[in-house]
């Protein structure tokens, strides 16, 4: 599968996750978010940027537990909790935020 945006074709998997990590930029992220019905605010970008940095360092998307813990460390307990993250990404921080961050679809039985 693939989609077109700003005259460029983006290759995705069956669920709409970008295949090439390097295809990602802020504009295409905002476009994917729009398709997901998510309006990106600074708070949304914080999460997406964290996910991308984490992925670049460890080549894997963080488990939700680690995401929460790291968010807590960086931004305090009012942001380091699951209710906050689900509020930003109602379809789930793992599924939706990873998609917008241009990471592969998280696997596992959640």
């Amino acid at each position: 599968m693939s989609f077109e945006f700003n005259g460029k074709t983006y290759e995705t998997d069956d669920d709409g996750y970008l295949v090439n990590l390097d295809d990602w930029n802020k504009d295409v992220a905002a476009y994917i978010a729009e398709q997901e019905g998510v309006e990106m605010t600074d708070a949304h970008w914080e999460v997406v940027n964290f996910l991308r940095n984490y992925y670049q360092e460890y080549s894997i998307a963080p488990a939700i537990k680690i995401l929460i813990k790291e968010m807590k460390k960086m931004f305090g307990p009012e942001k380091g909790n699951s209710a906050y993250l689900y509020n930003l990404y109602p379809a789930g921080p793992a599924l939706q935020a990873c998609k917008i961050a241009g990471l592969p679809k998280p696997t596992g039985c959640v």
Binding site: I64, A83, L85, P90, A91, L95
Partner: protein, 399 residues
Amino acid sequence: MADDLNTPLLDELEKGPWPSFVKDIKSLAGKKEMAKDLLRQLEKSYEDKRGYWKHGGLVGVMGYGGGVIGRYSALPDEFPGVSHFHTLRVNQPSGWFYTTEALREITKIWDEHGSGLTNMHGSTGDLVLLGTRTEELEPTFRALTEKGWDLGGSGSDLRTPSCCVGPARCENACFDTLAINYNLTHQYQDELHRPMFNYKYKIKISGCPNDCTAAIARSDMGIIGIWKDDIQVDAKAMAEYVDSGMDIQGLVVENCPTGCIGMDGKEINIDNSNCVKCMHCINVLPKALSPGKERGAAITLGAKAPIVEGALFGSVIIPFMKIEEPFEEMHDLIERIWEFWDEHGTSRERIGEFIERVSLATFLEGIGEKPLPQMIKAPRDNPYVFYEEYFAEEGEGGK
């Protein structure tokens, strides 16, 4: 009837006097293509001796990470009716009490949005709605919540707490199982709906050591009713049992696991200091014997089925706790356990495995509890009876 099914192997399962899931599903096959394809796919599974479900796939409803279990057919072209066949777990009422009105509500919603098939109840305790499509998830969820229902837990979260009927119908209940179940469910909504644990965490609540929710074998955390003082004896009722000619020596005295019961004429003598609270005498002589007056619960940790690591029974972590509103002592304990497990546990590590790995001593220190004689070094690890031939088969074929 669904004559076009052609499922000779499944039809075998309709024979005999016992209930049959094939019969159940066929009763819906007339109006649901989903039910038909479910049977056809299963028939093929029986023919080919393999399953045709694809496991997993992340599906859910907005705002929740749990409650929906994704199921897809591996043969969607052959069996389009079950190309999606997701399961929804609906949070059951405490003790599984329903009005007929509530049951009608649920079946009506499920008839409209899903296969119509239910499983009451799954071993998690939830009311399970079997089989629907991804696009039906949100409408189903909306219909359920409009009527005051909610989804249960799934994945690495707090699973829907579940309890026995307790004092609502049972004289042996040592505390109000329904009240604490309701309280914990509400107290931990976030943990229930948004998976963020290392792995699942099940809480089961039984009012007495008969343990009707099987908490000792099936819950990461079991809350099991128990008493501290002596078994209460009604001497008059006891004498009536003796007068009735009942074989008390054979049925009760000789079956006491610690041999702490003796008969003196029509009088029963129980050496309570040696009683292990097995409930046998109370179960056999319900009119004469009942649990003591100083009642509470023992808390066990660590039971699990043999996934990832082997099976474990729960073992005692708190020998006795009063279970009373507003249940703050319990909240405090649960949160200390979660905090330590969350900090030091690894992914997909159940609390029982975690305790085994770090040792009970370390765990106790981590949650701030003192070692007690009621704790044991290692819990029993095999709640099942395995037959030799099963072992042989496993060794040959592998999985």
